[in-house]
């Protein structure tokens, strides 16, 4: 009987593992080659080569709210009332070499950090800001809030 109970536990654990696996995989991607509907209008304007945009653009504070963008993948992050949303995405997929744009707006001072790429997007209360960079390394990279240390989404570059 003791054994059957541990068996039950085992099944429950494996089920939990399986669920977590499917969960993250279900997450929709914000456009890999083609822009997805949730993207902002400004994103997919020019399908020119990504290399035409300088990849070193670390200070978004100088960027106006409607940047002339050549991004292939864009994700909109909103932080309001302590809730963080990346347009419903937990995983955002991009192909290596694509330009990724992160647009953020927050009701408190925050900053978003892209691990691995080591990019930071400073957000001032109520002001939209954006960050654009070239996804040139394959892997999964966490994008987190600096102040509250929460996961915003994972950037999956394949």
């Amino acid at each position: 009987m003791w054994f059957s109970r541990t068996c039950g536990l085992a099944v429950a654990f494996l089920a939990a593992m399986a669920l977590s696996g499917c969960g993250s995989d279900d997450a929709p991607a914000a456009g890999s080659n083609t822009p997805s509907p949730v993207e902002t209008a400004s994103t997919a304007a020019t399908p020119t080569g990504p290399s035409s945009t300088p990849s070193t653009q670390p200070s978004p504070s100088a960027t106006p709210t409607t940047p002339a963008s050549t991004a292939d993948v864009a994700v909109n992050v909103t932080i309001a009332g302590g809730k963080i949303s990346a347009g419903g995405h937990t995983v955002v997929k991009a192909k290596r070499g694509q330009m990724v744009q992160i647009n953020g707006v927050s009701d408190v001072a925050e900053s978003l950090h892209v691990h691995g790429y080591d990019k930071t997007l400073e957000l001032k209360p109520g002001k939209q800001a954006s960050l654009e960079f070239k996804a040139d390394t394959k892997g999964i990279f966490e994008v987190e809030t600096h102040e509250s240390g929460k996961l915003v989404f994972k950037l999956q570059v394949s």
């Binding site: 085992a10 593992m17 696996g21 993250s24 691990h115 691995g116 892997g139 240390g149 996961l151």
Partner: protein, 454 residues
């Protein structure tokens, strides 16, 4: 692993981000579903083939086996000169890292984080696989204890108390759990204060124990040494019962692992924590945990404990059931089969940490040139960049990950089979192997699921 290091420029003076979770600045891509399913199918099918067609009499002879190395090689390896050179090297590395720990800057360019979490904890695995049981000699705390004993003209084997034989390696299993908690759960684990506190406790635990119980405490309680010793059993190098240093097949070497109390706890802590590392990186767990309202530390501690207990319970009940099915001793069986989990641990470790070791290992070697963040370039590596070409080969990485889990599983099955035919009566040997095989298949499918879900 618990610590994020940035793949950007080496000397970047960006504000330091303390990661709240996650294996590192970069995680491997999920393995393709087809590859994971193929791996699982191969693992299951070959397991039953091994069970059905493999040898019926034990093949491995453990500690009495092996081909002795030439006398001159053994003499050199056992010479006091070489031993002391290795000991002093270990001590020098320890003191150098200690400088970064005590006087370095509290930021991720301090090499101490990569030194402890990557070079030591992950690096001891390939080191032990290639060179065998060298950690005992490298272990700086052993050397400090030995030197102190020399000064006081005291026999290092003698302590104030006798360590109960029932303690076995339980103290090391506790140490491994404590380290896993530090690297995977502890709040602010990539800050100097937390690492200093943990290492201070480790130092006291290990050295105080050595004073109490003599130097056998190191093999019983030092988590790094216990882990390295376990992995060295998969190297081709061992010592025969007659004292000769020998070369032997890795699985035969593994067969020489002495069952001791706590060995099951040790392998469960290693396998469970590695699985938890993969699980805690899944975005659904992170999303659930951070929106649950409970503290991340509490949830992480519970989940880590759950994974380790899960391995402990499933493994123990499978081996106890095996004893019942084969009319053998039940209480001794978990310990007698524990060695067969070691290859499974190795498979998990390779799958989870291979690219991390390659990328963050390089970065740590670069940072090590400037231990105090004041512009030194001690080893001339300070201005090098991390070569991240490996990240481009995502198919090769995925194949390696799945291959490591599957091969680790098969080596585990073979080891357990050989032990089973040695222990069980011939008529019951087949039935007796089924419970453990089922559990091993579950570990492997679980491991592949973790790689697939990433």
């Amino acid at each position: 692993m618990a610590i994020v290091m940035h793949a950007g420029q080496v000397a970047a003076a960006t504000p330091i981000m303390v990661p709240m979770h996650g294996i590192g600045g970069r995680q491997d891509l999920p393995v393709p579903l087809g590859l994971a399913v193929t791996g699982a199918a191969v693992a299951i099918a070959l397991s039953f083939v091994i069970l059905g067609v493999a040898w019926r009499s034990p093949k491995y002879r453990g500690a009495v086996s092996g081909k002795a190395l030439p006398g001159a090689v053994t003499a050199t390896l056992d010479s006091a000169g070489l031993r002391w050179t290795v000991r002093l090297f270990g001590l020098a590395v320890f003191l150098y890292a200690g400088m970064a720990l005590l006087a370095g800057a509290d930021r991720l360019t301090n090499p101490i984080f990569g030194f402890v979490y990557i070079l030591v904890w992950v690096g001891l695995v390939p080191l032990s696989l290639v060179l065998g049981p060298v950690w005992r000699t490298l272990n700086p705390l052993r050397t400090l204890h030995l030197l102190a004993c020399r000064v006081f003209r005291h026999d290092p084997r003698d302590g104030l108390l006798q360590l109960s034989p029932r303690a076995g390696v339980w103290p090391a299993a506790v140490g491994i759990f404590a380290f896993a908690w530090l690297e995977l759960v502890a709040p602010d684990r990539a800050t100097l204060l937390v690492l200093q506190t943990w290492l201070a406790l480790y130092l006291v635990y290990t050295l105080f124990g050595a004073v109490l119980f003599g130097d056998r405490w190191f093999s019983a309680a030092d988590p790094f040494e216990a882990y390295a010793t376990l992995m060295a059993k998969l190297s081709p190098w061992g010592r025969r019962t007659d004292g000769a240093i020998v070369a032997r097949r890795p699985l035969e070497n593994l067969d020489s692992l002495k069952p001791r109390p706590g060995l099951v706890g040790l392998v469960a802590a290693l396998l469970g924590s590695t699985a938890y590392d993969g699980f805690s990186n899944s975005s659904s767990w992170i999303a659930w945990a951070q929106d649950s309202g409970y503290s991340a530390t509490l949830l992480g501690s519970l989940a880590l404990t759950g994974f380790v207990l899960f391995v402990l319970l499933t493994y123990s009940s499978a081996t106890i059931l095996a004893g019942r099915l084969s009319d053998s001793s039940r209480t001794a069986l978990p310990g007698l089969f524990a060695h067969s989990v070691v290859p499974i641990v190795l498979g998990y470790v390779i799958a989870h940490y291979f690219t991390l070791l390659v990328l963050e290992g390089q970065r740590t070697l670069i940072y090590l040139s400037d231990p105090l963040s004041n512009g030194w370039n001690v080893f001339g590596t300070g201005l090098l960049g991390v070569n991240s070409t490996i990240t481009e080969h995502s198919t090769a990485i995925a194949t390696l990950q799945v291959g490591a889990v599957v091969i680790g599983h098969l080596l585990g099955v073979v080891s357990a089979h050989d032990r089973a035919v040695a222990l069980f009566p011939r008529s019951r040997a087949l039935a007796g192997q089924v419970p453990l095989l089922v559990v091993m298949v579950a570990y492997t499918v679980g491991g592949l699921l973790l790689l697939f879900s990433a």
